[in-house]
């Protein structure tokens, strides 16, 4: 699996198929990226579970925080990790102990741990690193085009008017796969020099 650049089909199949997402490191502070992503994914119909031992007893968009993945007490499809690269491995270890384990490990924009990815993939999980599911959902649906972002998708079809809480179609035709070639190269250089 090449983690420097993802094919859109890979990201699309993950976002089309997962229903429940446990977000490790979710923050109730409304200027943190994890809060943005949690809220957006919840509004697009995902079953979101906030995981953060520091906030047990509080709620995020009406969902109670749990302290750890083990405390969720039901199967989940994806673990979205909002932690620095150095804190990824223990979360992956914990996820792999779940029964059944999740189908997908997703590491947030800026986070990458190749050893943890390898371990999860060896156990049959899909892995995404250094991406934001909100941005990818917005990109594949072209909703993010409203901000001048290059969605790298085209469509000649009339899309429904997006309303609150609606799942958007992610099935536009894609080219090149997600990021641009230049930004992928830059990300790869950065990984290699740090």
């Amino acid at each position: 699996m090449n983690h420097d650049a993802y094919d859109d089909n890979y990201i699309r199949s993950i976002l089309n198929n997962v229903k429940s997402i446990a977000m490790v490191g979710a923050s109730p502070v409304n200027v943190r990226p994890s809060y943005f992503a949690f809220k957006y994914l919840a509004q697009r119909g995902y079953d979101m579970i906030p995981v953060n031992p520091g906030h047990v007893g509080k709620e995020l968009m009406g969902k109670p925080f749990v302290a750890s993945l083990a405390d969720i007490g039901r199967p989940i499809d994806m673990v979205d990790i909002f932690r620095n690269s150095s804190h990824i491995m223990p979360v992956v270890d914990e996820a792999l102990k779940l029964s059944p384990p999740p189908k997908v490990i997703w590491m947030q924009l800026g986070a990458r741990d190749d050893a943890a990815a390898e371990k999860a993939e060896a156990a049959g999980l899909k892995v995404v690193m250094n991406r934001c599911p909100k941005i990818e959902y917005g990109r594949l649906s072209s909703e993010i085009s409203w901000m001048g972002v290059n969605s790298r998708t085209l469509s000649s079809k009339r899309a429904p008017v997006p309303t609150q809480g609606m799942r958007l179609s992610l099935n536009r035709s894609s080219f090149g796969g997600g990021q641009t070639a230049a930004s992928d190269r830059a990300a790869k250089n950065k990984t290699e020099t740090t």
Partner: protein, 426 residues
């Protein structure tokens, strides 16, 4: 459904646009409105807090402008773009994200005259310093880098003489200095040169020129290559530090590889205010659909005119990189193989008076201060745009008394040559 990579012409027609969800309109509608209703209070708060995608107010974003932004980003191979009111507005917004009083931008000496003015005089009032280097001598850039340097600024094809810049060599200087390379790609357009492929971190355009292409609408655009790491060494606090106006959001952390375009929008355009009219965005978008066709015709016509002039007895020199013996011909073949653009200068044996005469004798060429129109344009810089400089300064900036600048249009080349021929004889 990762399909084949669409070609440039397909992107020029389709990228960013889709049938209007509400009406099914196939052409991009002109959303001529100042503001957009919110669904409810929470939606309004999410939009203002940058938590949700959507429209608030046309100074910050507009659906017509967004199509233009995505289209230019796609054509340039960038992650995102921001459209603004003019090329000059794009330049000031880019540097506002990078510069603090006392900082320095290192710029190529060969730039559009208006940019030289903006950098020298307007930016001085902001406390931004400019260091100049010679784009024909890469080592002069290396020598001019200081600890205060925050960006390097060049033109891919430089106005007025159409000289070609060695983008990769200067990109290497920028990388070594740890600063972004900004390339003004106005005279090339992405049809001829894609600076991001050669190491540019930010591309700016005056959309007024070839992209709009019809001489009817001002506009500018900023393209984020998504290549620069803004958080390194805290050199660019607008991107890496918590922003007080957004309750502590860090732009790079939140927006990743299109953070620069977002900073330009929410910290630059929002606060400085040079928004592009949606009507202009529509005109420019329509222009871009035919960019590949027009640009090739511009180049083919320009080459024919340059060849004609270079063998004309009244002409002492032609500066056109498309001519085999031009000093920029090797760089043109490397960076701009489809053509050398349509803006170039030539010199008249008869000096200043001959230049003034030529301009007044032309019947098809329009005498005006613009480039990149469907129509062919002419200007005699020494008696107009550069008239305030002394003779030595005129020569140094490529605008000596005997120099005439042309911007070749998409008319029939035979008619352009005939017009020049009669005007040179008259």
């Amino acid at each position: 459904m990762t399909d084949r990579l669409p070609g440039f012409s397909t992107l020029a027609v389709h990228a960013g646009a889709q049938p209007d969800p509400t009406t099914g309109a196939r052409a991009t509608p002109i959303y001529q409105t100042t503001s957009f209703v919110f669904n409810d209070a929470d939606h309004a708060a999410s939009l203002f807090g940058l938590q949700a995608f959507g429209n608030i107010y046309t100074r910050i974003g507009n659906p017509t402008n967004a199509v233009l932004e995505e289209r230019v980003a796609a054509l340039e191979g960038g992650t995102a773009a921001l459209a603004v009111a003019s090329g000059h507005a794009a330049q000031v917004i880019v540097l506002q994200q990078l510069m603090r009083p006392g900082d320095e931008v290192l710029a190529a000496r060969k730039l559009y005259g208006g940019s030289i003015n903006q950098f020298t005089h307007a930016f001085k009032a902001f406390g931004w310093n400019v260091a100049w280097a010679d784009p024909d001598d890469v080592a002069s850039f290396e020598r001019a880098v200081t600890p205060h340097t925050k960006a390097i600024f060049i033109e891919s094809i430089a106005n007025p003489a159409g000289s070609i810049t060695d983008i990769e060599a200067i990109a290497a200087v920028a990388r070594k200095a740890g600063v972004p390379l900004i390339v003004d790609n106005t005279l090339a357009s992405p049809y001829l040169i894609k600076p991001i492929d050669h190491g540019a971190d930010i591309v700016v355009h005056s959309l007024t020129k070839f992209l709009g292409g019809h001489g009817n609408s001002l506009g500018g655009v900023i393209v984020d290559a998504g290549t620069f790491d803004w958080s390194k060494d805290n050199k660019y606090p607008m991107l890496s530090e918590p922003r007080p106006e957004y309750h502590g959001i860090r732009i790079q952390e939140t927006f990743g590889n299109f953070a620069f375009a977002i900073a330009c929008r929410v910290l630059g355009l929002r606060d400085l205010g040079p928004a592009l009219s949606p009507f202009n965005a529509f005109m420019i978008l329509t222009g871009i659909e035919t960019l590949p066709l027009r640009m090739q015709k511009h180049c083919d016509n320009a080459k024919a005119v340059a060849e004609f002039l270079s063998s004309h007895p009244a002409v002492s020199a032609v500066n056109y990189a498309g001519l085999p013996d031009d000093r920029y011909h090797q760089l043109q073949r490397k960076y701009s193989p489809k053509g050398a653009g349509a803006v170039f200068t030539f010199s008249l044996k008869g000096g200043y008076d001959a230049g003034v005469n030529l301009v007044s004798n032309l019947k098809l060429f329009s005498h005006l201060a613009n480039v990149g129109d469907t129509r062919s344009l002419v200007i005699h810089p020494a008696s107009t745009t550069h008239s305030q400089l002394d003779d030595e300064a005129k020569v140094r900036s490529g605008a000596g008394p005997d120099v005439v600048r042309l911007s070749i249009g998409i008319e029939d080349k035979e008619d352009l040559i005939a017009d020049l021929d009669q005007a040179l004889r008259a």
